[in-house]
Amino acid sequence: MTDTLFVLMEARDGAPTDSALALITEARRLCEDVAAVLVAPEIGTAAECAGAAGASTVHHVPADGRAADLIAAALTALVATHSPTAVLVPATTLGNEAAARVTARLGTGLLADVSAVTLADGVVTAVKSELGGTRLARCRVVDGVPVLTVRTGGLPPAGSDGGPAAVITAAAAAPARTTVVEYLPTGGEGVSLEDATIVVAGGRAMGGSEGFSVLHELAAALGPTAAVGSSRPAADAGWVPVELEIGISGKKVAPDLYLACGISGASQHLAGMSGSRTVVAINKDPQAPIFAVADFGVVGDLFEIVPAITAAVSARV
């Protein structure tokens, strides 16, 4: 039997998400044969996007793609027919919910929130950062088709050189029991935190939502792949939307560059940013724990330093 990896392809308004496409490309790197599973009323651009990213097939299940129980029913049926080597799901809110349901339906094992996947001799192994980033664990599923939720933040962007994937349309699924009444996108255009290659994060030191404007200006100077994030207190206080919180109870990001501005470096925050390739810490306290994990540190007042960095970045182009 040849290996096949299934990837759940989340989509919004007919367009697959960047994180799903990046996961398809990662799956293609591990395995010749990648099948994307799209649960959505319409196929939209999925065949072209998934194919370009590296999928050979798209299984399209016409159903409400925002209902985790329908996604789980569709995935379970496809797994039963095609017995893939594993099912990879982006570790997003909806992906986590759907993956958990699939695992329960199949009675197999879930490898949750993994940061790296390997496939050798038909066996999938996952690496996870655990206990607030203080440990690395390698795990596998004991028997049955493994289900994995994968942090997509650290993945390289999706490939773009494959031809369109073949589409196999499944029977329409039952109506959803839950109904999305309203979708409220995060204000402002630009990349999502998970997809950003540069994250400019602010903490309690920002002092309020106005304080964050220096970070937005730096992010804008750093280009379209830079996004603003925050520590818990800043999100708790409502200075930024809650979906910008990074950490153990917030987003897990793994950008090329992470700028921590006025963030002390508590373990719960580090848990969300520990996958970052290069870390810059700006803090007025030279003893701040964040300096222990930073590649570059600057001691001083961020309200002076950050605008100066913005000026230096702008001067480069």
């Binding site: 925002r66 997003t92 958990a100 329960a104 206990l131 607030g132 028997d143 839950t178 810059v280 230096a312």
Partner: protein, 257 residues
């Protein structure tokens, strides 16, 4: 509204958890506390029960000490607690945990709503609530930041947090929701309610009582300590702008800009 709440006990400081030869976690040196997000789940349940009438029953799976979770929850508004305690369930994976919790919920009779935390402080797989929903064949909404019960009878309007924003979802009852820390601010117990909770008696169940045969689905191959990052470079300059210029030059030199 009759509500079941799932709350687990977690180590207060994840750094103090030891990893044993047998690749399991030794929590002996780690102070155990109630999962912070579990307190939000309990608070959400108590608020809904206060608004609509009804009861709140807390269920926890864990060793003998996990009874402290039930006491704490009763001191802040739960009426009853169920403790699933069984050495054979130690170190259970998410699916086994969910099977146990679903079976325990099943014994409670007619339940309108199950509330859990979105992501536990230690395991953090963000999987158990949706697994429980699947096992009970109920709809679910996870990562809820606001609950509105005024929408229509027999339904809730939940706001959930997504990667790219928020979604408001209408959810029929009975169902399962998981809440995150932003949903509310948990109340504190009073001295009186603490004393009363100390006298509370909880039902204690084993896996056999629930008809569950402990099974392992996921296995750990090894656990290591991640490589420590090399100490970084501190950047200083004559002026703030000079420092910033040096930093940007260093980042460009490192190939990240």
């Amino acid at each position: 509204m009759n509500i079941a709440v799932l709350v687990k006990q977690v180590p207060e400081d994840l750094g103090t958890v030891q990893v044993t030869e047998g690749r399991t976690l030794d929590r002996a040196n780690a102070r155990a506390v109630t999962d912070p997000v579990g307190k939000n789940a309990l608070e959400a349940a108590v608020q809904l029960a206060e608004a609509t009438g009804g009861t709140v029953t807390v269920i926890t799976l864990g060793p003998a000490g996990a009874k402290a979770v039930l006491k704490e929850c009763v001191s802040v508004g739960a009426q009853a607690g169920v403790h699933v305690s069984d050495g054979g369930l130690a170190g259970s994976d998410a699916l086994t945990t969910a099977r146990v919790l679903a079976a325990a919920i099943g014994r409670l009779g007619a339940i309108d709503l199950v509330i859990a935390g979105a992501r536990s402080f230690d395991g953090g797989s963000a999987a158990v609530p949706a697994m429980v929903a699947e096992l009970l064949d109920l709809p679910s909404v996870t990562a809820v930041t606001a609950i509105d019960s005024g929408d229509a009878p027999g339904a809730l309007l939940c706001t959930r947090v997504l990667e790219d924003g928020h979604e408001r979802v209408s959810l029929p009852l009975p169902s399962v929701i998981s809440v995150d820390e932003y949903v509310n601010t948990p109340r504190y117990p009073s001295v009186k309610s603490k004393l009363a909770a100390n006298k509370a008696v909880f039902e204690v169940l084993t896996a056999a009582d629930l008809g569950i045969v402990p099974a392992r689905h996921a296995a750990v191959i090894d656990i290591t300590v991640p490589p420590v990052r090399e100490p970084g470079v501190m950047i200083t300059g004559d002026t703030v702008q000079d420092t910033a210029d040096k930093l940007v030059a260093a980042l460009a030199g490192a190939g990240v800009l």
